[in-house]
Structures are given as structure tokens and as C-alpha cells.
Subunit: 205 residues, 2 copies
């Protein structure tokens, strides 16, 4: 049995203890012969795997009424995993979702690290820096690299901290954001664990 969380840019697989990624642009889902339980926010890939018998969409087993119509299934499945907290899922987009006493309170979408660096570089070649995750967010910046790093990170930091809830970091850039959210817990398996719970509760295997 394989688990797969399909995002905008990659297939994120879990095979037993082994997690690995494949690029959406190059990976061929028909190459998998095992049964795959998946969730997908990628409409093109969803369409592609819909006709494959061994690809089982877990979205069909989720009570979406507690969330909102166009909310990504990855955010829903992550939110189902916790009772209280702010989930920061840092991938090509960063989704921030708040759960209190097991109830989803809403969430927002921020741009991911790569997308945002590209945005600054496109605005001006003078802003073509990598973000400095060691930037001191307690003082106003006085150089260009920190000025974009602070602009991207401090703004997100203040919103996330304003909820006064435990912070759970997941997604490919979780470890980068741990440098900003120092008390946060990194949980690489948040979505996969929630997917396993759905499979078990619905007696799918």
C-alpha cells in the first residue's frame, strides 16, 4: 500500500516508512502497480489518475461540510489531524489553518518560498535575493536582503502568532520556517497520518 499527497508541483509518496517525491511534470502515475490511496489538489493529475483502478481518492471519504467548498483537500486532511493548533503547511504555497477544539476556524494562503523569491526578482533585479531566515525580526531592516526577508517572514509571523495556539509545521520547507517559529513542532507525517486514520476508520484496507 502506498499513500500519496499530490500537490501543485509534486507527488509526495509514503511507502511504509519511506517518503519520497516525484515531479508532477515528469512522473507517470501508470508506472505504479500497487494500490495507492491519494489526495490531490492538482486538477490535471486528478483527471489523469481518475481512470486508474489502483489509485483511490480519499477525498470521497471526507466530510467536507465542516470546511469550505473550494478548500484544498490537503488542508482539510491536515486540519482533521489536530484538535487545537495552527497548521503551517509550507510547500509551493503556504497554507495556514486554524483548528480550535477540533473545529476548523478558517485559514489563509500565503506564497511559498520559491514563488516569493521569484516574485521579488521579477519586480526588480535589485531584489533578486534568497530569503535570510536568520534575519532578526525584532528590528526593522537596513539592507535589501533583510528588507525582503522581513517583508515575507515578519508579516506571516505576526499573523500566525496572533492566534496564541500551538504551531505545527509541515511541508517541504517546514525546517526553514522552524527558524522563525522557534516553538513550533515539525510534523512531516501530519497528512499521511491523517490519511491512514481515514483508511482505518472507513475500513478501506
Amino acid at each position: 500500500m502506498l499513500l500519496c499527497d499530490i500537490g501543485n508541483s509534486s507527488y509526495h509518496f509514503l511507502d511504509g516508512e519511506n517518503a519520497f517525491k516525484e515531479s508532477v511534470s515528469t512522473f507517470n502515475p501508470t508506472s505504479v502497480t500497487k494500490k495507492v490511496y491519494f489526495i490531490s489538489v492538482n486538477a490535471a493529475v486528478s483527471k489523469r489518475v481518475a481512470s486508474l483502478e489502483n489509485w483511490i481518492d480519499l477525498a470521497a471519504f471526507v466530510d467536507k461540510k465542516k470546511y469550505y467548498e473550494t478548500m484544498g483537500i490537503d488542508r482539510i486532511v491536515a486540519a482533521m489531524a489536530i484538535e487545537n493548533g495552527v497548521i503551517v503547511d509550507a510547500g509551493s504555497a503556504i497554507t495556514v489553518d486554524v483548528v480550535k477544539n477540533g473545529v476548523f476556524c478558517g485559514g489563509f494562503i500565503y506564497a511559498g518560498v520559491k514563488a516569493m523569491q521569484k516574485t521579488y526578482a521579477n519586480i526588480s533585479p535589485a531584489l533578486a535575493y534568497s530569503f535570510n531566515f536568520e534575519c532578526d525580526l525584532d528590528i526593522m531592516p537596513k539592507n535589501s536582503q533583510d528588507a525582503i526577508s522581513y517583508g515575507y517572514l515578519k508579516t506571516l509571523y505576526l499573523e500566525v502568532m496572533s492566534h496564541n495556539l500551538p504551531i505545527i509545521l509541515t511541508g517541504g520547507d517546514a525546517s526553514k520556517f522552524k527558524r522563525i517559529f522557534k516553538d513550533a513542532k515539525i510534523d512531516d507525517q501530519l497528512i499521511f497520518n491523517s490519511m491512514k486514520k481515514i483508511i482505518n476508520e472507513d475500513g478501506l484496507c
Copy 2:
């Protein structure tokens, strides 16, 4: 006499009371015969006008030591205009600069409206919305348009408000941000007024 604030995407002119913009990609600076006092953050345009005798760069008359080396001259000139406040200059980039008792305390750079909408649309076609500036920033969003609007606006809002200083909005998107920063003052002429002050103080005309 003309004033001109040259940004990443446009020449912003002031001719007496009349302000107008020309596109960086199409406007020919040799077509101007009057004397032009300008500032520029656009390296390509700076190079182009450097050889034109009637284009006078006001950057040469600014004490840059009080700021930082790679800080855009538009931000410096805007900061010179106030004693206390947060300047939010909303153009293709949004610069946020803090001045206390006439001293520049630092600042940061955020992505402009157009650039950021493009960023979200590039991350996923499901996020290709315009921002909703009427979005209620006091509640967590439960639809996709508000999820990106809140992600872009609430984060910026919290940082800007955290300084507890008067807010001055300028730049092409100032009126959009007035809907978020309800107590802010819009000052379209902030940079031009500061340029005039430099011209007068240095006896340039």
C-alpha cells in the same frame, strides 16, 4: 520645470499641478526638452538619462548616510518628507518605511498587488483571483478569494499597525490600501513635495 519619479514600471511626472505616468517600456526620455529633476530606482533608465543634460538626478543632493547603501532613492526621498510615521508606498513593490523623530528606523519590501496576484495564479489556477480589499480581516477566511486576500493583506496590516505610528499611503495603489488602513492619510504628492524641498534647499532653481 518637470519632476519625475522613475520606478520599476513607469515614469511618474509632475508638471505644475498635473501628474501623469509614462511606461518605462515605451517612453523615450529624449522626447522631453524641459529641465527634468528626477529620482530613479530603475538602473536601466538611470543609464539611459545619464547622458541627457536636461535630466538632473536629485540623488546627488541627498545625504544617503542616514539610510542604507542599497536603499531605493524613492524610499529615501519619501522618508525625508516626514518626522513620524510609517510610509506605505504601494506600487509594483510595496515599501514600508518607519521614521521616528525625523530618524529613519528601517523598512521592508512587500510585493505589489499585481505581482502578488500573478504569484498566486502561477502557484495554482485555483488561486487566480483578484484580491478582495473588502475582506473582513477580523475573521479567518472560509473561501479561496478571501484566503489569498487575507494572506496578502492581514499579514501586512499586522506589521504596519504594530508600530503605533501615523500611516501615510502613497503610490499608485494607495486608495486600494486605504480600505485596509482606514485611519491612514493618502499623500499622492509625498515624493514630489520632498523633491521640491531638496530643489529649494539646494538652490537648484
